[in-house]
């Protein structure tokens, strides 16, 4: 039983260009697919290679010691020779998993609220002639700008 490394309200996030990075690594091991090939497989209901890698990467990044089983998983899923599977696992660790970040929903909410905070400050400035303390804003219980957290 794999144990998640994520706390409540946390998730693993990869950067925007992650699919390109994965694609470059896959190409080295003869696993790359064109868009048309992917779409064809999808229309037939088959799993695509990139989807398999994405799932492996996501699992490895979000479970405790997930990267340790990477070699075996890759070998089994892609039927690669040991040497290639080892090398592929290593590259995933070094080039892909290293990009993974644990982010909390709080952080996401903060990103959203930064912009709103500015407008709130502008408003307060006009109304009271002074800026509110940011700390007091963060501690506000009725922070309507934060995204609700489930």
């Amino acid at each position: 039983m794999e144990k998640s490394i994520l706390q409540k309200f946390e998730r693993v996030a990869f950067p925007e260009n992650i699919t390109s990075v994965i694609s470059v690594v896959m190409e080295k091991y003869g696993l790359s697919e064109t868009d048309e090939e992917i779409l064809e497989k999808l229309s037939k209901g088959q799993d695509t290679e990139s989807e398999k890698v994405a799932k492996i990467v996501k699992r490895a990044a979000s479970t405790e010691n997930g990267a340790e089983d990477l070699f075996l998983e890759i070998k089994e899923v892609f039927k690669l020779p040991d040497e290639d599977a080892k090398s592929f696992a290593k590259e995933i660790k070094e080039k892909i998993l290293i990009l993974a970040q644990k982010i909390s929903e709080e952080e996401i909410a903060e990103v959203v609220s930064e912009e709103k905070l500015k407008s709130k400050q502008d408003f307060s400035e006009k109304k009271e002639g002074s800026l509110p303390k940011i700390s007091s804003y963060h501690s506000s219980k009725e922070d309507i700008y934060k995204e609700p957290i489930e």
């Binding site: 996030a13 990869f14 699919t19 994965i22 694609s23 890698v53 994405a54 990467v57 996501k58 309507i144």
Partner: protein, 621 residues
């Protein structure tokens, strides 16, 4: 006996009354009820409305005539009678006193210079001061002549501009004749036009009275300056830093000249603006100046609006002169400022009311006609729809607010006199924001009730509805049911554009766009922050995204948003949408329209790219 007589009198009166009115009706179509309703009550009401129109027209004409007559009187040679500016009892009396005082100061100056020479004080510069003192001793006796020269020069220019010191004799008559060209057979339209004419008349009255007051001020201040001219001249012999402690600014050589020349010149500036405005008014009235009149439903208002131009010109003139006056006489500047504000407010209110109602009527008529036609009730239905729409457009708060908004936005474009751009929005935003604060504690049920309130008639009610919608939008609680009155609420501060960014599938159509346009109009970051998670479960919203938006959601979006996108990673849903795009591309190819083909191809390619990324992106696993 008396009772019987009364009955006879009443019966006789009734017969006489009917006898007068009945012959005007066709015997076949005669119906006592419709006769009472349409002819007696209708004509009585129309009579009152015509009478009111007449009162407004008379009052407007009276005000305009009074204002113009006042100014004509003030600038005419008769105003001062046979008394000249530099030779009248007040000036003569005052000037004699100040001249004697100036002579005393000359003696004082001599003493000061003498002491300076004895004590060897260089700063009194006796060699330079004595010739100057002698010159001033001579000149102070001729100050009325010197002042007279400058005043006469400015008056000559003024008189040249004002055509011999009078307004055109027929100015008022010509303007009223121009207004009479706005021929109205409908009493209600006539009442409205005359009401607006009254407001313009009042603004014109204010403008002319202000100019009249300015010229009166000019006479008075020039008198005062002439009276104190000997003191100003004698002040020139003293070193200025010492003088400042003794003489007020007004008496000092340089300041005196500055004020004297300003008051002389003010008359020229004012005369110039009066000349332009008068020419424009006469030109507009006699149709020799071609300010084009609007077509369609605004046509009858064209003549009235044309008079806004000369009025604006007059107020610009007042504003320019006011700035000069303010520097010289703060009190006078403030009085002029208040009167000017009242005048501008009157012009604004008049034009706002007129355009508000006209725009409302026009918009209502269009909608009414369209609905009439849609309901398939033929020409009669269309006419009825048009009339009802016009009435409702002018009568509803939304129609009037749209008109007022149009006018205010137009006024904001007027340089110099118009309010700052964005004032209208800022005011409305402020009011709606205040209402939002008040309603913020309400729950969704109550807010829904306010948002769906169809009984709203007043501006306040509309602002409340807009505020309720804004709160619902902030909470992400807008849905199909509570967005029925979005269009109306937009006029009162509901930010539908922002709401559409959050809920494009619900709101895009209501702001005249489609989901694709709204989504494409946002950059990836704005899209991620604005979009509601429910929208990301919508395949149309998904298909409207581009790759960067999808990747932005994957990398930085909340779990809710990512989970929403993940629900779409469903073969059937994606296949169906892809098939739809392929069918559209095939249809476009059949039409052989290269633009349509390119668009359809781009949509299909974009969708395929999104699908590929969704499958291979670990953020969506």
């Amino acid at each position: 006996m008396k009772v019987r007589n009364k009955k006879i009198i009443i019966a006789f009166s009734l017969l006489v009354f009917l006898g007068i009115l009945v012959p005007f009706k066709s015997a076949l179509a005669w119906d006592i009820f419709s006769f009472i309703r349409d002819d007696i009550v209708g004509n009585f009401t129309k009579g009152i409305v015509w009478a009111l129109s007449g009162i407004f027209a008379y009052a407007a004409s009276f005000l305009l005539e009074t204002g113009q007559s006042f100014l004509a009187w003030v600038i005419s040679g008769d105003f001062m009678g046979s008394v000249s500016m530099t030779n009248n009892p007040i000036v003569n009396y005052g000037w004699a006193i100040t001249r004697d005082m100036a002579n005393i100061f000359l003696l004082l100056g001599l003493v000061v210079i003498g002491l300076g020479i004895i004590l060897g004080l260089e700063e009194y510069q006796a060699k330079k001061t004595i010739p100057r003192m002698l010159a001033m001793a001579l000149l102070i006796n001729f100050t009325p002549v010197i002042c007279g020269f400058f005043i006469d020069f400015s008056n000559t220019l003024m008189n040249y501009l004002l055509g011999g010191g009078t307004l055109p004799q027929n100015l008022y008559t010509v303007v009223v004749e121009g207004i009479n060209q706005v021929n109205q057979t409908d009493p209600y339209s006539s009442l409205l036009i005359m009401l607006v004419w009254f407001i313009f008349g009042f603004a014109g009255f204010l403008a002319y009275v202000l100019y009249g007051l300015l010229f009166i001020f000019r006479y008075i201040f020039l008198w005062i300056l002439i009276i104190f001219s000997p003191i100003a001249f004698v002040s020139n012999i003293f070193p200025s830093d010492k003088i400042k402690n003794f003489f007020p600014d007004f008496f000092q050589w340089q300041e005196w000249w500055k004020q004297f020349l300003s008051w002389c010149a003010i008359g020229i500036y004012a005369a110039f603006f009066i000349l332009l405005a008068s020419k424009l008014m006469v030109g507009v009235a006699s149709n020799t100046i071609g300010i084009s009149e609007p077509a369609g439903k605004l046509a009858t208002w064209g003549k009235i609006f044309s008079y806004v131009f000369p009025l604006i010109l007059l107020f610009i003139g007042i504003d320019s002169v006011k700035k000069i006056v303010e520097q010289k006489v703060p009190g006078a500047g403030k009085v002029m400022g208040l009167a000017q504000t009242a005048g501008i407010a009157a012009v604004t209110a008049g034009a706002g009311l007129a355009v508000g109602v006209a725009a409302g009527v026009s918009a209502g008529a269009t909608v009414g006609a369209s609905r009439g036609a849609q309901e398939g009730v033929g020409t009669l239905g269309k006419i009825k729809g048009t009339l009802k729409g016009a009435a409702m457009g002018g009568a509803t708060a939304g129609g009037r607010e749209e008109g007022a908004k149009w006018y205010r936005k137009t006024a904001e474009k007027v340089p110099y006199l118009g309010p700052k751009p964005g004032t209208y929005e800022a005011e409305l935003r402020g009011k709606t924001a205040e209402e939002e604060k008040r309603l913020d504690k309400l729950d969704k049920k109550d807010l829904n009730y306010l948002a769906q309130d169809k009984t709203v008639l007043t501006r306040e009610g509309n602002i409340r509805r807009a505020a309720a919608l804004n709160i619902l939008n902030k909470r992400g609680e807008l849905d199909e049911t509570n967005t029925k009155y979005v269009k109306e609420a937009q006029s009162f501060g509901f930010n539908a554009e922002e709401a559409a960014k959050k809920r494009p599938s619900i709101m895009a159509e209501k702001i005249g766009k489609n989901t694709e346009d709204v989504v494409k109009g946002m950059d990836p970051e704005e899209f991620r922050k604005s979009i509601h998670e429910k929208e990301l479960e919508n395949i149309d919203v998904f298909a409207s995204m581009d790759l960067r938006k999808l990747q932005e959601i994957g990398a930085k979006g909340s779990s809710k948003k990512i989970d929403a996108v993940k629900t779409l990673n469903n073969k059937t849903v994606l296949d169906n949408k892809q098939n739809e795009f392929e069918a559209k591309l095939a249809a476009a190819k059949t039409s052989r329209d290269p633009q349509e083909i390119a668009k359809a191809q781009a949509r299909l390619n974009n969708f395929k790219t999104l699908r590929v990324d969704l499958t291979g992106n670990p953020n969506f696993q």
